[in-house]
Amino acid sequence: MILRLALGSLMARALTVGMTVLAIALSVALFLGVEKVRTGARASFADTISGTDLIVGARSGPVQLLLYSVFRIGNATNNVSWESYRDIANRPEVKWIVPISLGDSHRQFRVMGTTPAFFEHYRYRGGRALEIGAGHGLDDLYDAVIGAEVAETLGYAVGDPIVVSHGLASFTDHDDQPFRVAGIVARTGTPVDRTVIVSLEAIEAIHVDWRSGAQIPGQTTPVERIRQMDLTPSAVTAALVGVESRMQIFGLQRWINEYREEPLLAILPGVALQELWQIVGVAETALTAVSAMVVVTALLGMMAMIFSSLNERRREMAIWRAMGARPATILGLLVLEAALMAAAGAVLGLGLLYAGLVVAQPLLDSAFGLWLPIGPPTGREAAVLAGVIVAAALASLLPALRAYRLSLADGMMVRI
């Protein structure tokens, strides 16, 4: 009966209660949303590369190397010369090595030159291999294998022509040497989805008539002649390395880092990822703190709303007292009302979160490659919701204690 009366009392003040519930709901949705993005980003980053023991690139920072080689974020400042690459590949510890050549683009997507070994050795999400959903791999010099998102966004099918642009944001196209979509990689949820993969030789081929990043005017080597040329590259951007035995990782890493011919850097992807988390962690904490403050603000708003309602409810409190309610019952009533508002806010907030996820999921996926899974609330989320309700009950104690004291002092005297 008390619960029914508390609900009735809230319904009677639908507007102010509704605003309070909405404020709580929005703050809860924001908080949970931030958590979702945070955990989603971590998961998708962590899922992107597995099974690679070392990543080798020109000497820069471990995080930078990880970002440009695996996540296609940022650019390499230097390349690794083909001689150095061969030296590393010939090391006895090396089981497999996959070169990566970046720098060109197709529309908004990056083009990556590599060898067929990439499809063999690249692993994501705990050891899953790439799967060519349609068509075949890199067989011909001008074959391109595209990620699922490239195909979806640009509406490409196997057999369609592709023209690679020079650089990442230029208007110069390698239109003299068009590619053909040979295969489409099934969706992985990794940057591969947004990559156009061609052979290392093809990268070399389209730059035959180029020197120092500019096309030699008037020179166009016919495709037939290019096919006859030696297309061994002079440099690659980075390389993914697998070793024979995990025991050898650190030895090989030290060897590469101390390589005398050229300043190189070898990193363990997991370690670099940890470093990245440390950098991102500060921002994450700040984001979480801000969204938690928004929840606190909403609860303070609720507290203010209860406080301001106390005066007009003194008559009601006097009725409760006259009917035999203890002051503690009145305190309990107010705390119950606050908990109900918070619970309604929490449920509504969860609803808003899911509605937001449904809308934002494809947008985030296409814009940032961030795939946020929509699933039942996790234990952590349930704990957050429970925490909000408990915090609301605690926050309401202050006005409730005031009501307690008022009801003791007023007795049946209140006349309005």
Binding site: M1, G8, A12, W320, A322, G324, R326, G411
Partner: protein
């Protein structure tokens, strides 16, 4: 059963934190089943007296006994329960929780009074409404939608449910027009007689006196003690 419905002996009371107003009642007594009209101007201490009788505040000295039980011997929680069990209260207006249904309003004191709840019949709320001339099916209506006259009758039903031995009414007719007042009082007296309860009604309206067993002027039994704060 020979205990009087209400006795006040050498009662002195001063509001805590509001030293400006005090009240002393040397002696006042009500028999069981008696109906008493207590006349007093506003500010004469009527509400303070009612708060004392209901055990919402306790006397600084002297004895307030309802049905032979000295309220001062009860702890705060027990006093609240005692009030719920033994006393029905009717205010002058705004008696009801406006957001609750008529039935919930009527049954509210039972929530705090297990014995009174046992005495009350399951359909007593509805039968009291009918006896008080309220339209059938009103029990599901939200109290805030009723007219003032209807609200006061619902308040009577709430005071009477489970037949408490003492009904305390604080100017219950002041918000009603003359015609409604008369009907209201007739119904109130009928129901109180049927329940066998005692009635202590506070008012400033002497014309009501004829219906009561006894009319007492507050000034004759109590001294208000007003000091400049």
């Amino acid at each position: 059963m020979d205990d009087p419905a209400l006795t006040l002996t050498d009662v002195r009371f001063r509001w805590p934190g509001r030293a400006s107003f005090g009240l002393s009642v040397p002696a006042f007594r009500m028999s069981r089943g008696e109906t008493v009209l207590l006349l007093g101007e506003s500010g004469s201490g009527k509400s303070t007296l009612l708060s004392l009788i209901c055990g919402i505040v306790t006397a600084d000295a002297g004895r307030v006994a309802v049905g032979g039980i000295d309220l001062a011997t009860l702890r705060a929680g027990a006093r609240d329960r005692f009030r719920a069990e033994r006393i029905g209260v009717i205010f002058q207006q705004f008696n009801l929780l406006p957001y609750a249904s008529v039935a919930d309003n009527i049954r509210l004191p039972l929530r705090f009074a297990p014995e009174r709840r046992k005495r009350a019949a399951a359909d007593e709320a509805a039968s009291l409404c009918a006896a008080l001339g309220l339209p059938g099916g009103i029990t599901g209506t939200t109290a805030g939608r009723l007219s003032v006259g209807q609200q006061q009758r619902v308040a009577v039903a709430r005071a009477l449910i489970g037949q408490p031995e003492l009904i305390v009414a604080d100017e219950p007719t002041s918000a009603l027009d003359a015609a409604t007042q008369d009907t209201f009082l007739s119904l109130l007296f009928d129901r109180i007689a049927a329940a066998g309860s005692s009635l202590l009604m506070v008012s400033h309206d002497e014309r009501l006196g004829a219906r009561f067993d006894r009319v007492v002027r507050l000034a004759d039994i109590a001294q208000a003690d007003r000091q400049a704060a």
